[in-house]
């Protein structure tokens, strides 16, 4: 009996090493729990800033209770948006330049747009020193939010704003070598200071007006003759000797199977070489080129130039589209080659294409904010220029620069002739409604030999590119270079 008891006890007593499995599983769980801690730290340190800056995060009310929305500054430190405290203690967002920066800076009441939306959480985050924050929290004083230093220049914005005049349309000005957006204007505009009182009028006004729409990024237009830059590039890729050997006899009309293309006002340009066709913007010559290139290669070229795809841009925009396929009919093929047809493009996108050519074929990541600072001006985060992608070879960029330079010196871009710089560019006259005046386009950059500024301008229903958009570009360039001289 006793013996039996003993054996039973033995069965229950386990040797030490039998705990090996227990220890293994214990270590496994310890590891998993530490992984949870580690991941939480990682998330809070590296990811949370990006994550919480999301329009779906409705916690901004929490922030607004504790933080005074930060300022938005121009590149030279002028205030574009600030929060003022009125006498009765209420906060009011103030935009000193009123309509001028309305679309790009945006508004922060009745929803948020532009930079106010994109950088909402940065503006509502305070990175002033810890002890001061603590002190202010104890005293129940709101902390001042971080401020944004943008890449926008007040001078150029003003020049662009005035150059558009009374026309609807948009201007994008950028620095090709860095991708900095220097100015971005859209008209018709509104005064963000009175957005709340004007709200009903702004959203109920004739929907075609689209006052709140940032046409620079969200307006889609037929590119008109500015698109001939890409047609010319594709033609040069397929016929490398084209710049020397190309010749076309323009009699004002070009027929291709069932399709017909007229030159502007039926004008005949006579005998044209490749440069001549480009600088005179001869529709017949480009329709002929279009009929003579591989559609699938052309499609690939346009996709590599960011048609039908996302643009590397922080604010809201619309995708441009290029829809030509092997199945498309003849009229669509020749129309597309001269920038009509079904192709649409935003002024921003056209500016990026132009800047790529100006920058030797490399597209720089476009950006609007160069620095985030504390309310006292200490740097929190800096945004440096970065390469987005090489889109074309330096040789191709040089060849296109040559075409665009002669477009100004010898052709439709004559309005930009200047003693103090050589500009390069391409005009466009986009037809969109037979009964209405055409949209006036200009894209270009200067100085041609060492580009420092690139623009893209559209003026809706203004007329030809050379008569309206090109002179507007001249005004912006003049301001830029006269400022440089000083």
């Amino acid at each position: 009996m006793k013996k039996q008891n003993n054996t039973k006890k033995k069965k229950n007593v386990k040797p030490k090493d039998s705990n090996r499995e227990f220890y293994r599983i214990m270590y496994l769980f310890s590891g998993l729990f530490l992984l949870l801690c580690g991941y939480l730290c990682y998330f809070l340190i590296f990811e949370s800033r990006e994550v919480i800056n999301n329009p779906y995060n409705l916690r901004q009310e929490t922030f607004e209770r504790k933080i005074v929305r930060g300022e938005i500054l121009s590149s030279d430190g002028e205030i574009l948006a600030e929060t003022l405290i009125t006498d009765n203690g209420e906060e009011a967002r103030f935009y000193p330049y009123k309509e001028m920066f309305a679309h790009v800076v945006g508004y922060s009441q009745n929803g948020k747009t532009g930079l106010e939306q994109k950088y909402n959480f940065e503006l509502l985050t305070s990175d002033i020193p810890f002890y001061e924050k603590l002190y202010r929290e104890f005293m129940d004083i709101k902390n001042p939010g971080n401020q944004l230093v943008t890449t926008l220049s007040v001078k150029l914005q003003q020049a662009a704003y005035e150059a558009l005049g009374e026309h609807r349309g948009a201007v994008v000005v950028l620095e090709p070598s860095t991708g900095k957006i220097l100015a971005m204007v859209s008209k018709p505009d509104f005064d963000p200071n009175t957005i709340v009182t004007d709200w009903e009028r702004l959203i109920n006004s004739d929907s075609a007006d689209g006052i709140l729409l940032n046409r620079a990024t969200q307006g889609l237009y037929p590119p008109g003759s500015t698109f001939k830059i890409l047609t010319a590039l594709e033609y040069m890729r397929e016929y490398p000797s084209a710049p020397e050997n190309f010749s076309y006899e323009c009699n004002g009309i070009f027929s291709y199977n069932n399709a017909e293309i007229n030159c502007y006002h039926g004008k005949s340009h006579g005998n044209l070489d490749f440069i001549g066709a480009f600088e005179k913007s001869c529709n017949g010559a480009f329709a002929y080129m279009g009929s003579d290139i591989s559609i699938s290669d052309f499609y690939d070229l346009c996709e590599s130039f960011l048609f039908n795809t996302e643009l590397p841009f922080p604010l809201a925009y619309k995708k441009s589209s290029f829809l030509l396929t092997e199945e498309s009919e003849d009229w669509e093929l020749v129309q597309t080659a001269i920038g009509q047809g079904k192709t649409t493009i935003s002024p921003l996108h056209n500016a990026l294409i132009t800047a790529t050519i100006a920058n030797g074929g490399i597209l720089m990541q476009p950006y609007l904010v160069s620095e985030i600072q504390t309310a006292y001006g200490q740097q929190v985060k800096q945004y440096l220029p970065s390469v987005y992608k090489r889109l074309i070879s330096p040789e191709e960029a040089a060849a296109l620069t040559k075409l665009m330079t002669s477009c100004v010196t010898e052709g439709t871009g004559y309005a930009l002739l200047s003693d103090s710089y050589t500009a390069a560019g391409k005009t466009g006259t986009a037809e969109w409604d037979e009964k209405k005046e055409s949209h006036s386009w200009f894209v270009g950059f200067a100085p041609a030999e060492n580009p420092q500024i690139a623009v893209s301008i559209i003026m809706e229903e203004a007329g030809t590119g050379s008569d309206y958009a090109a002179p507007a570009a001249k005004k912006i360039f003049d301001v830029f270079f006269s400022d440089k001289k000083k």
Binding site: K11, N12, V13, K14, S18, N19, R20, E21, F22, Y23, I25, M26, F29, S30, L32, F33, L34, L35, L36, C37, Y39, L40, C41, F43, L44, E47, S48, R49, V51, I52, N54, Y56, N57, L58, R59, E61, T62, R65, L134, E137, F138, D140
Partner: protein, 433 residues
């Protein structure tokens, strides 16, 4: 003035929780009884301090006088548990009692902040549950032959799950609750315990191949019933617990890895078959593209954690109510938002502390049945904590599992209290032997 108090409270709470956590790990190095008691005293001070500050903030923020009453009642509860339980069971693990109180405490504070009526309900269930749980070690001591009822445990578990499958209504896409007129309860939470009893009792008899086959079949029935009720989080826990227990009993890696392989295959199949798993996986992979629908909950959870940062926005200052089902599956996010990331990390570490105590008690026990029992409960607890916290911060897809002792949920807190009591029972049993 009010603001200063609330700000102070916010930082002192973080400090106290951190101290508490530090002490609980310092405990492992201490041998002498005096040192251990000192640590326990400091920890009790931290628990009551956090509790006090949490309710002071609540009172200042809401001005509700009933909070004072709730505070008083809870304080009495904590003092009773902390002092009476060790008196009744001198050999119990005081640290485990402290951990339990701390987790309940954080749960009370955050639940009161989220919804006062839920907090009251939860507190009443905790009180009742504690009375129930306090007799569990006594029962275990009195009835020494608990290991002999293996098949009874198995059959009770299956019958309960079957009842749920046949009669329960569907809530949130799954059949979980049995509804009686005044209360509804979630049997799978209790079956979880009985299930561990079953497996431990089976393997106590033998870990031969035949025994493994028999046990596997019974376990498979449990898991399949849960799958049929679409309680897939529950099914996952049951399956993993079984695998880890087989591994410990047979000491064969093959079973563990083979089982994990099967479980992966089963998960993959489930992902292909079940819509609501696909929803969760999609939401886990990229919540931002489906933020309007599938990704809404997890995105809100991440907003809460991210907005809180390391120090938190302070009690009653955040908006945890934005997260759907915040009181249950996503309570961790509410803690991280308002009490801060540091406190949230401490919560994870306190849970780890519980887990290590569970394993320690299992390892030190010389009775095979109780060894397996404590080990099985440790694994159950560990998996559940990992699934709910990992899900809240998008480390893994969310599985709809509650955080034991902290989340709202009568069945969950009741079964967890019993789980802790069983562990204490194993510990006191060991000393008594």
């Amino acid at each position: 003035m009010q603001n200063i108090v609330m700000e102070c409270a916010q930082y002192i709470i973080i400090f106290l929780i951190t101290c508490y956590t530090w002490q609980s790990f310092a405990y492992f190095g201490k041998k002498s009884e005096v040192q251990k008691r000192k640590i326990a005293a400091r920890q009790n001070f931290c628990i009551l301090g956090v509790h006090f500050l949490g309710y002071v903030s609540g009172y200042l923020a809401t001005g509700k006088e009933e909070l004072i009453l709730l505070y008083g009642a809870q304080t009495v509860y904590f003092i009773c548990v902390i002092f009476l339980f060790p008196t009744a069971y001198p050999d119990c693990s005081r640290m485990l009692i402290s951990h339990m109180c701390m987790l309940l405490n954080i749960g009370f504070i955050i639940l009161t902040r989220l919804s006062y009526p839920l907090a009251v309900k939860q507190f009443l269930i905790v009180c009742g549950g504690s009375v129930l749980a306090s007799v569990v070690p006594w029962i275990m001591k009195k009835f020494r032959e608990l290991r002999k009822f293996a098949w009874i445990y198995g059959i009770i578990g299956i019958l309960l799950l079957l009842t749920v499958y046949l009669t329960a209504d569907t809530t949130n896409g799954a059949k979980l609750f049995l509804d009686f007129k005044y209360i509804s309860f979630q049997p799978s939470e209790f079956v979880k315990l009985i299930y561990v009893f079953f497996i431990a009792a089976m393997f106590e008899k033998s870990s031969s191949f035949m025994q493994v086959i028999k046990t596997s079949l019974m376990a498979a029935v449990h898991v399949l019933l849960l799958v049929a009720s679409k309680d897939l989080g529950g099914a996952l826990i049951y399956a993993l617990v079984y695998l880890m227990m087989v591994y410990a009993a047979t000491k064969k890696n093959l079973y563990l890895f083979g089982g994990l392989l099967c479980a992966s295959a089963a998960s993959y199949t489930a992902w292909r078959l079940f819509d609501h798993i696909q929803v969760r996986v999609t939401a886990w992979l990229n919540p931002w593209t489906v933020i309007d629908t599938k990704g809404y909950q997890i995105a809100q959870s991440l907003f809460a954690i991210g907005t809180g940062g390391f120090l938190g926005v302070g009690l009653y200052e955040g908006s945890p109510g934005q997260i759907p089902i915040v009181e249950q599956d996503f309570i961790f996010s509410a803690i991280a938002e308002e009490l801060g990331g540091i406190s949230a990390i401490c919560v994870i570490l306190i849970c780890l502390g519980c887990l290590l105590l569970f394993f320690n008690i299992a390892i030190e026990s010389r009775n095979t049945f109780y060894r397996y029992l404590a080990y099985g409960l440790a694994v159950t607890y560990g998996i559940q904590v990992f699934l709910t916290i990992g899900g809240a911060m998008k480390l893994i897809p969310s599985t709809g599992v509650t955080l034991p002792l902290v989340s709202y949920g009568g069945s969950s807190v009741l079964s967890t209290l019993c789980m802790f009591a069983v562990i204490e029972g194993v510990k006191t049993f060991e000393k008594a032997e």
